[in-house]
């Protein structure tokens, strides 16, 4: 019940934050902060570290920690089924931590209807938690769609100058691809009915179905499209720069930090394990898209003069690594992809918070009108430097571990693609340092009078710096948490590529190697 409790807690907390505005305009953010903190503590207290005995499904029962199944619509074999394993736990912790950051980032930014704003932030978190926990595909789709509505409202109501266009584009892209996923889910369930004689939307019942190759291919494509639009991968990324740029700071933090990760999670949890054969055939295309995204995103990032757009395009580039890692489908690359999800979530959230803070102070995102900020706001400068270095993959920080693992894993499968992808590390250095130079170095504008980070903002920044350092210097706990899940996913959907033998040898490496 603890998982349903977590979602319920967030939903009720959002409702409370909404209504708290009637009492005092400052109360909503405190309510939201307390809610998310409580949810985080509740999660950490409730999450068992050992696999639960209750979970005895036919498919890799070993790695699941918690499981809950309540009848919902038995007519279609739909249940309210939640389950948590190490991967979901990791992403839930990330979600709630970034939720706290988002609330901190928007602490003094929102004047218009602060109650509804905080409510939407908390509801987005509830939806994302639902996505990470749902193992009934109908329920998964439900959370997948529902989390968009508060996000849409965040952009449409509190966004910047071009918010309507951005919010619409975001919603339509994800909705249209979501409908294809719904179609794919129904086809999948119907295939389950044809093969097992029982209609069910449960992930555990649908794993390992055999497909007619053509049908399997199309169904897989439905899932793949929905997830890569959300990820986003080239060429479905065009909604992202608009949405990120126009969203309020908290919205950008949530979008970049966690909403993109739901796409990666979907690929890892659903798309590849449910359709191992089709996915394996499709892997070269997906990896090609990944490399294209890395390079294309980096080039476009370099071409931007808008601080937020630059960070947004850098996300496209970084998420390319996730796509590569996932479709390489070996132990090292998968670890790298998971690591990238976490590290990118933290580093990009920090950069968006910075961008939001700059916009709040300077009323512009144009880097041409910045310059020399380091002199006027040294703390901001130092923070920006740290996260720019993290983003370009400096050894010792989380992003380096992630990208290195992906490249290492990929090299054993597709050496040429790995070589091309490693260009991304070079280009990342170019645009990150370019950003630093444009905004923070050079001659300061003496007429400008701006405040540096205050204690609240420094606290949030320090927390994220600590997280990245920890991920970079001692990634083992994260790797250990994800390892059993990744092993069982790979066992459920083996790719019989010629280097499979390498995998088993390599699997030992992350255990002790780093």
């Amino acid at each position: 019940m603890s998982m349903a409790g977590l979602i319920l807690l967030l939903l009720l907390g959002g409702l409370l934050a909404w209504q708290a505005e009637r009492i005092h305009p400052n109360l909503p953010r405190w309510t939201a902060l307390v809610t998310v903190t409580a949810a985080l503590l509740y999660l950490l207290a409730a999450a068992p570290t050992e696999p639960g005995a209750t979970m005895a499904g036919p498919h890799y029962s070993g790695s699941w920690l918690l499981h809950l199944k309540l009848a919902w619509m038995p007519r279609f074999g739909i249940a309210f089924e939640l389950a948590m394993d190490g991967l979901s736990l990791l992403l839930l912790v990330l979600t709630l931590l970034l939720g706290l950051i988002a609330i901190a980032a928007s602490w003094s930014e929102i004047d218009f209807k602060p109650g509804l704003f905080q409510a939407n932030v908390v509801w987005t978190l509830a939806g994302v938690c639902g996505v990470f926990l749902a193992v009934d595909l109908f329920l998964f789709f439900l959370f997948w769609e529902v989390m968009l509505i508060p996000m849409y409202l965040l952009i449409a109501i509190w966004g910047h100058e071009n918010k309507t266009y951005a919010a619409m584009k975001f919603f339509i892209f994800t909705q249209a691809s979501g409908l294809l996923m719904l179609l794919a889910i129904v086809v999948l369930a119907w295939q389950g009915l044809a093969l097992t004689g029982q209609l069910s939307f449960s992930y555990f019942d649908l794993l390992g179905l055999s497909f007619d190759p053509r049908l399997g291919w199309w169904t897989m494509l439905g899932f793949f499209l929905a997830f890569t639009v959300k990820l986003p991968a080239f060429p479905f990324h065009t909604w992202l720069p608009d949405a990120h740029t126009q969203a309020p700071t908290a919205g950008s933090v949530l979008l970049a930090g966690i909403l993109l990760k739901t796409g990666a999670y979907g690929l890892l949890r659903l798309c590849i394990p449910l359709f191992p054969d089709a996915s394996q055939q499709f892997a070269p295309v997906a990896m090609g898209l990944g490399v294209a995204g890395i390079i294309y995103g980096a080039i476009l990032a370099f071409a931007q003069s808008d601080f937020k757009r630059l960070v947004a395009y850098s996300s496209v580039s970084h998420m390319g690594f996730v796509l590569l890692g996932l479709y390489a489908w070996n132990a090292l690359a998968l670890q790298g992809a998971v690591m990238q999800m976490v590290a990118h979530g933290v580093s990009t959230a920090a950069l968006f918070m910075l961008a939001g803070a700059l916009q709040h102070r300077l009323h512009t995102r144009d880097m041409g009108r910045m310059g020399g900020l380091w002199h006027q706001a040294p703390r901001m400068g130092a923070c920006a430097m740290f996260f720019a270095l993290a983003s370009l993959g400096l050894p010792g920080l989380g992003n380096f571990v992630a990208e290195f693992l992906v490249l290492l894993g990929l090299f054993s499968v597709q050496p040429w693609l790995a070589a091309a992808a490693s260009l991304g590390l070079v280009t990342a250095a170019v645009y990150s340092l370019w950003m630093m130079q444009q905004a923070f170095q050079g001659a300061p504008d003496t007429r400008r009078n701006m405040a540096d980070f205050d204690g609240r903002e420094m606290l949030a920044m320090a927390a994220m710096m600590f997280a990245l350092l920890w991920l970079g210097l001692h990634p083992q706990p994260v790797l250990d948490l994800a390892q059993p899940v990744l092993d069982s996913l790979r066992a459920a959907a083996p790719f019989d590529n010629p280097v499979a033998a390498l995998d088993t040898a390599a699997a030992a490496v992350p255990g002790r190697g780093l």
């Binding site: 007519r75 849409y152 339509i172 249209a176 294809l180 179609l183 086809v187």
Partner: protein, 482 residues
């Protein structure tokens, strides 16, 4: 006829008694509040009486009417929808004419026509119900007789709908000439005996289908829809868009099922083609509208297109039960949602200076001015768009499931494309509702009547309940269809 027969027809009898009661009451003492209350009570009673009628169902009463649970389910729906329309109209029509009482009498009669259609298993009862419904609607649309738009709408609807009825009637006459029978089942048997060779059958099928498709406003018989929706008083438009269409759809479905017209593959495939046209044309044309009523008119064309998918699914007899279940659920969800959407327009236009012509800017900032009404519209629009947690999503899920079971990929992709386009114009309304106070200028007063708030609450609850906990309705539908 004996007592059991009367029991089976209880909803119709209650409605007929209600109509007479209202007439007497109006003659005795004019009072719009009293008339509206009486009409709402009789409509709710009619809906509730279906429970008693269900005890003897299924029962064939005369060759014309079949009182089965399917008919009674829709009678309940129409009764409640009529009652909600009556309450919504209470404040709306009192602003218009001097004597708003007969409006409610006509509403009861129109609901009765819809219920007759739900019962109909014979061409005669089909025509009786359809005419009772349509003729009441002509008057209802024209009721605000001092404005030009309603009159224009009523005239258009009168002429075109009359022509459509005549077309259908001629088609049925030809069918009768070919088969010698008018009952749906007998008609099917007659067709099986005579075979498809007879030359009158093709024109007959075309005429009947065109007549009914006009009432459902399926492309290419949809041209009247935006004008009539736009001009009619908002509560009447809600009734026209939901109850009138659902009733005709129910009878069309029953005609196809009872006469087993799904044998004629060409006919069904034409339906599928029209479904695709309706989905795409309805959604694309809705994009261009800035008048909310016109937008909803085009969106209703698209929704009927989605619904027509079930005809294609019915080709395979194994999937017929699922298809009919899906259609029933969709009709219920669509009725609730449509009534909610037009209910909102009614509630905001009772106070607005602009009547009948509600543009996007009239809902600007509704979220901050009237949160409850805005929530009603939000829920209704999300339901129309098919977003989870609302009735519309489960309904769309049903349709997708039914279509997947029959492997109708082209229809499914049209559904996906249509819905994707649809999101844009639904979202645009939501966007206008969330505009900040500095971005618009609208003079409006908050609704003061408890009725509006109560109805908003009921409709929001109904749509969300159908979206979150649909299982009891699913079970019920399954139990009556198997």
């Amino acid at each position: 006829m004996n007592a059991v027969d009367f029991q089976a027809l209880l909803p119709l009898l209650v409605l007929a008694a209600g109509a007479i009661l209202l007439m007497v009451q109006i003659a005795w003492h004019r009072n719009p509040g009293l008339t509206a209350a009486l009409a709402a009570i009789m409509l709710v009673l009619a809906a509730l009486s279906c429970r008693f009628a269900a005890e003897v169902a299924p029962l064939q009463v005369t060759p014309l009417l079949l009182a089965d649970r399917f008919a009674l389910l829709f009678c309940t729906l129409f009764g409640f929808a009529g009652a909600i329309t009556a309450v919504l109209s209470r404040d709306y029509v009192s602003h218009h004419g001097d004597e708003p009482e007969e409006f409610f009498l006509l509403l009861v009669l129109a609901t009765m026509g819809a219920c007759v259609l739900a019962y109909a298993v014979h061409v005669a009862s089909l025509l009786l119900g359809m005419e009772l419904l349509s003729i009441s609607l002509y008057a209802l649309i024209a009721y605000p007789n001092k404005s030009i738009l309603p009159l224009e709408a009523a005239a258009k609807y009168l002429v075109l709908s009359g022509a459509a009825s005549a077309t259908a009637l001629f088609g049925f006459a030809l069918l009768y000439a070919a088969t010698g029978s008018l009952g749906f089942t007998a008609l099917g048997q007659g067709l099986a005996v005579t075979g498809t060779g007879q030359s009158v059958l093709l024109p007959a099928a075309v005429l009947v289908f065109a007549g009914l498709a006009f009432k459902l406003s399926i492309v290419p018989f949809h041209l009247w829809t935006p004008d009539v929706y736009d001009g009619a008083p908002a509560p009447v438009t809600g009734f026209l868009a939901s109850v009138a269409k659902a009733a005709v759809f129910v009878v069309l479905l029953r005609l196809f099922l009872d006469a087993d017209l799904f044998r004629y593959r060409i006919l069904v495939e034409i339906t599928g083609l029209l479904a695709i046209f309706s989905m795409l044309a309805g959604n694309l044309l809705a994009l261009l509208q800035s008048n909310i009523k016109r937008m909803l008119a085009y969106s209703s064309i698209a929704h009927l297109g989605y619904l027509l998918i079930v005809f294609m699914v019915c080709i395979n007899a194994a999937n017929q039960a699922l298809a009919v279940e899906a259609a029933s659920f969709y009709l219920i969800a669509y009725t609730a949602t449509t009534i909610a959407a037009f209910g909102l327009l009614t509630l905001i236009s009772t106070e607005a200076t602009v009547r009948e012509n509600i543009q996007l800017q009239h809902v600007s900032g509704l979220f901050w001015r009237q949160p409850l009404l805005a929530c009603l519209m939000l829920v209704a629009l999300l339901s129309l768009a098919g977003i989870p947690l609302t009735a519309g999503f489960i309904a769309k899920f049903y349709l997708v499931t039914a279509a997947v079971s029959g492997h109708h990929w082209v229809l499914l992709f049209s559904l996906v494309a249509g819905s994707s386009i649809g999101i844009y114009y639904y979202l645009r309304v939501i966007y206008y509702m969330t505009r900040r106070p500095e971005e618009y200028r609208v003079e409006q007063h908050p609704i003061r009547h408890w009725r509006g708030r109560f109805l908003s609450g009921v409709l929001i609850a109904a749509i969300l309940l159908l979206g979150v906990a649909p299982q009891s309705l699913m079970y019920y539908l399954r139990s009556i269809l198997l």
